[in-house]
Symmetry: C2
Subunit: 299 residues, 2 copies
DNA sequence: CACACTTACGATATTCGTAAGGATT
DNA sequence: AATCCTTACGAATATCGTAAGTGTG
């Protein structure tokens, strides 16, 4: 029947090259009679003699020359396809697209990206920094492999693996009345001018979900953490933000103060992916790195 | 190992298409367990799972999608190459190049070309009309598959199969003294003004080789048979030409007269090809047609 | 419980390597 | 006589189909 194998093509090319059964057989790591049979099987499959052979001469026939023009290319194509798949499996090639909340995208992930890229330089990395719902939408649509985010309202079709419990801290200027405290209570903050992130942010959502913190006033509402920093530095108010965002508040005049244990509030962060399909090898490797980094987060 | 078969690729494409083992197996004319094993063998060869399968869902993995993009093209390429070879074997495609003496190229071959083309419209035909030595050179170099010609001085590396013994006839105008004879003797011609072809022509060579005819005078020497015709019609002389050229002398005022048996002279025509390589299927088919037509030449 | 993929297993077909055969120089 | 391709043949391997097993909706 019409079932050509890569081995037949390799044998054909080797023989067309060597003009010698014994040598071509050796090149294919076979005994010569087995190699002969392999050539014969190809000739039978094609219904035509591909080599004129006597004991002293091995030459391509007209049809052999015809096949020879295509066979090398065909074989190379074939091996390229196989190699490509293997490169992806071995994570020498690939693409990973991650969607992450802005705080994580700017604070936690860059180092991980750098290390992953150093280990797998052939893999294209994409990072979407987006608010919670857009993050989930990216994963749902397949545009992103993984989201690093909080849970959304609708998590159907998504798998969430707990990543980190991100504790909130009070951020204030050094001349604020609370600036000297080692830990603050909810009650301490209630009277303060609060600078909050927009309601689409997971930081704000986490506070809204917590009944104790829901009644906190909002003096100003902004979209970006950097703006919060600026406003607090300017002395317009204080803010409550999770640990993962604190890299934004490294400033000489700012103080970061934990909440006392009984008033602690956290936002839960998850690794999120589609439940209906597995990850590519590269994406799985990235996912595994994220899981491994989770341990380091505890410190 | 790395031995991909066409069947594996066909199975893969079928399953990627159907998303259903049982249906894909049927499409490949196999039982479902055998088909399963075939997919598994491909997955093992590539070292990666290509389908996510539960009993209710069959979906491509990321690597499967990667392969799917190439597999269809690869399979089509493969089948195209095989089909191309088979088309050549079945003489639906191909190329035949024939070198023939001018007399044969113009007189005998055109009909054969027409019939061969009607039977094998996909085969490209080339006809080189050339004198004897160029004809042989074309075959020797591989530029022509077959020559229809006389034997040359050097026939090494060439096989010659007898085609036809081409008897010479006297051609003269109707008012010539010999025009009324039923057959002429060598002696009758010796005094005539002879119009001859150039010494490179096989017609002239055949006469030169025959000792009895070597002493014939040459009144005029020209290159083309058509010119001979014109000169004879003009009454400048007579000519001796082989039967295969007589189509050139169909003219109301010309007479064609055989030689008496004891003075008969012939040129031998051969089918000539390289002895060191076989013919392509198409060329062989053409060769066979020429051999078959040889029988018709006897009449 | 019905459908669908996997595993088990014996039968068949293919492929392999060793050894003998035959052709060419 | 030496080289080298083919054929012969028993052994190892692969593939097939039937039947039983397993998991999912």
């Amino acid at each position: 029947m019409m079932n050509i194998t890569a081995r037949q093509l390799r044998a054909f090319v080797a023989l067309a090259d060597e003009h010698h059964f014994t040598r071509a057989a050796a090149r294919c790591h076979q005994t010569q009679p087995a190699f002969s049979a392999l050539i014969k099987s190809l000739e039978d499959a094609l219904g035509v003699r591909l080599f004129e052979r006597s004991t002293r001469r091995v030459e391509l026939t007209a049809e052999g020359r015809l096949l020879n023009r295509s066979a090398t290319r065909l074989l190379r194509d074939m091996e390229a396809v196989v190699q490509d798949v293997r490169d992806h499996v071995a994570i020498r090639k690939g693409r990973v697209s991650v969607a992450a909340l802005p705080s994580l995208a700017a604070g936690w992930l860059p180092d991980i990206y750098a290390r992953f890229h150093a280990e797998h330089p052939g893999v294209e990395l994409t990072l979407h920094d987006a608010l919670l719902e857009p993050c989930l939408a990216l994963v749902r649509s397949g545009a992103a492999d993984i989201a690093v985010a909080a849970q959304g309202v609708d998590m159907s079709g998504l798998d969430a693996e707990t990543l980190y419990e991100d504790a909130f801290y009070l951020v204030c200027r050094d001349d604020h009345p609370l600036a000297r405290k080692r830990a603050v209570r909810l009650r301490d903050i209630e009277g303060c001018a609060m600078i909050q992130l927009g309601k689409g942010s997971s930081v704000r959502q986490s506070l809204i979900r917590n009944s104790a913190f829901r009644k906190l006033g909002t003096f100003l509402e902004v979209d970006h953490l950097a703006t919060v920093t600026g406003l607090v530095v300017a002395g317009l108010g204080v803010s409550l933000v999770p640990a993962m965002t604190l890299f934004q508040f490294k400033h000489a005049r700012l103080r970061v103060i934990p909440l006392v244990r009984q008033d602690a509030v956290k936002r839960s962060l998850y690794l999120i992916r589609r439940s209906d399909r597995g990850l590519s090898s590269a994406a799985q490797a990235f996912y595994d790195v994220l899981l491994r980094e989770r341990a380091a987060l505890g410190t």
